[in-house]
Amino acid sequence: MQVTNKLTPFFENLNFERDDNTMVINFGPQHPSAHGQLRLVLELDGELVTKAYPDIGYLHRGIEKMAENMTYNEFLPTTDRLDYIASTSNNYAYALAVEKLLGIEAPRRAQVIRTMLLELNRIISHLFFLATHALDVGAMSVFLYAFREREFAMDLMEDYCGARLTHSAVRIGGVPLDLPTGWLESLEKFINRLPTDIKTYEDLLTANRIWKMRLEDVGVLSAENALSWGCTGPMLRGSGVNYDIRKEEPYELYSELDFDIPTSDRCDSYGRYRIYMEEMKQSVRILHQLIPMYAPTAPQLMAHAPQYISAPKEEIMTQNYALMQHFVLVTQGMRPPVGEVYVPTESPKGELGFYIKSEGEPYAYRLKCRAPSFFHTGLLQEILVGTYIADVVTIIGNTNIVFGEIDR
């Protein structure tokens, strides 16, 4: 029994030795495979996990509280810090929820750019997943390869918005900037190259004996359990439920695009890994279709809604009324109608939805961010039981959780 004192307070205390041959081990919150700040208390019988208790909250920053005390436009850069691996998906999910609340729609060119950025972010996020997951399982070289390609994708993001990680590349009502010259050519070069790179990863992993031994029949999740635990994205599709919000409840340009939703009936980590690989190929396919859609669009980038959205810069600098509107919108913030919305989007990790309750004030009355990783972490307490300690890291890596959006 450990002695409780001021430097080892009670909540850190764990009874490591027990009478009944089980052992309690503490995993994290600082652990290279914890994907951030996950603390996991495991009860072991030999090498078998008999109880698992995920403990979160080590990255809690009160983002939902901040949202209630910031105007709608002020809050947008904060959403970058949710799922920081794919910031644009968060920016977009938030912007879309506010747009639905306001009842406005982004112009066509903004939609093309947003969809491009969303898919590019999906690739960035999936490459990151593949790299870290492979590294957790022990495949070092895949990490290096996948990070190389991710670098090219992040260069594209940097060329567009100047940031590599916290993009804030989407605004409420559209996008702030047009594509720079030559960006589409760079994008095309990247997506022409990516399929060969994906083939490299697949050659390294898909039929690899060790990889299959580590992933096959590990982290088995039935469809019923996946639905009950609120799993979405690849976690749900890996259990044979074909549900992708891009297809089922299309937003942006997804209804015009031709792409497939990969699913797997294997219900294990290997099936989910295959889904991630296939989704990257589908994102490449979507990006190929989006490039020719850009040229025929009109150059307008932000929706025309003077009550909520500032006029373009040229108008602000030349027209008195536009300047006045801009001044009011910047100093006071927009006042959306009274109402509530819940808008789901398909982020790389699953269903990312924003519930916004507005009372007609410039501050949201309540904002709830439905983050996919939060529910995937909750699932760990069931899915880890009955597995071996060596598989715990595989399963955590395979759920693809990011702590920015779990703790918020």
């Binding site: 209630e68 639905l227 635990w229 819940y342 939060f374």
Partner: protein, 261 residues
């Protein structure tokens, strides 16, 4: 006269309000006859007081918060709403003395969404929906942690994001945005003990706080001093030195290699 500040909400307020401004409402639509939504509305008639659709989602306000299990069971078993994607609360204590709790449901086969809304009076608890949806295990814990709403029959009702012994529930409108007395002593008590409060002093929890004379945690560019030095008398400007980027000239090295060979 001093300006009145309401005590039941310490949230940020708009500094300019127009007395004659009437905020527009988001449009609500009647439930389309013959759709699945209208069947749900008929099935839940005795529980609900108001139902309408908004953005293609059905919103049902139910009479009593105790009906939540009955309503969600009907939705799950009769209408195929097998996933609860989100549940949480909204603080209406200042206006109406109650919380508004919503359950966001999803039907995966037909891609339909329903939001079940109920009002929970202050001081009463709500029944856990964990037997129906296991996702509520974490979501209800978060609701308890953030609002202090008690959940009946939850398997493990414990704070989730905040530490176990934290004082207050952060998403309440009355939770202070700054100057939280309990929060400023929390870590001091944990690490040094309550009896040493006088020696240590309260923790400054303002992230933008910079102590001008603290050379252990802060330094000024161009005025660097040794770690922990006393600068209350002022410090001397240091010339700023930029490090040179050392780059390997691969072309040149290659040539030299060849020469040596």
């Amino acid at each position: 006269m001093r300006k009145y500040t309401p005590k039941d909400s310490v949230q940020a307020k708009s500094y300019y309000t127009d007395r004659f401004w009437v905020a527009p409402q988001m449009p609500k639509f009647e439930v389309e006859a013959g759709s699945q939504f209208s069947k749900i509305v008929t099935a839940l008639k005795k529980y609900s007081k108001e139902s309408y659709t908004q953005l293609g989602q059905l919103i049902i306000h139910i009479n009593k918060p105790t009906d939540n299990i009955a309503v969600l069971t009907i939705l799950k078993e009769k209408f195929g709403y097998t996933m609860c994607s989100e549940l949480s609360a909204v603080d209406y204590l200042a206006k109406r003395g109650e919380f508004e709790i919503f359950y966001q449901m999803l039907n995966v086969t037909e891609a339909l969404r329903v939001r079940v809304v109920c009002q929970l009076a202050l001081g009463s608890a709500i029944e856990s929906i964990v037997p129906l949806f296991k996702m509520a295990n974490f979501a209800e814990r978060e609701m308890y942690d953030m609002f202090g709403i008690y959940i009946n029959n939850h398997p493990y009702l414990k704070r989730i994001l905040m530490p176990d012994d934290w004082v207050g529930h952060p998403l309440l409108k009355t939770y202070p945005l700054q100057g939280d007395e309990a929060a400023s002593w929390y870590e001091v008590d944990k690490i040094f003990g309550k009896e040493n409060r006088d020696a240590i002093g309260p923790e400054n929890r303002d992230p933008a706080n910079v102590d001008r004379y603290d050379t252990k945690r802060f330094s000024r560019v161009g005025y660097e001093v040794p770690f922990g030095a006393d600068i209350s008398g002022g410090e001397v400007a240091q010339p700023i030195e930029y490090s040179k980027t050392v780059m390997v000239d691969y072309q040149k090295e290659q040539k030299e290699l060849k020469k040596r060979r």
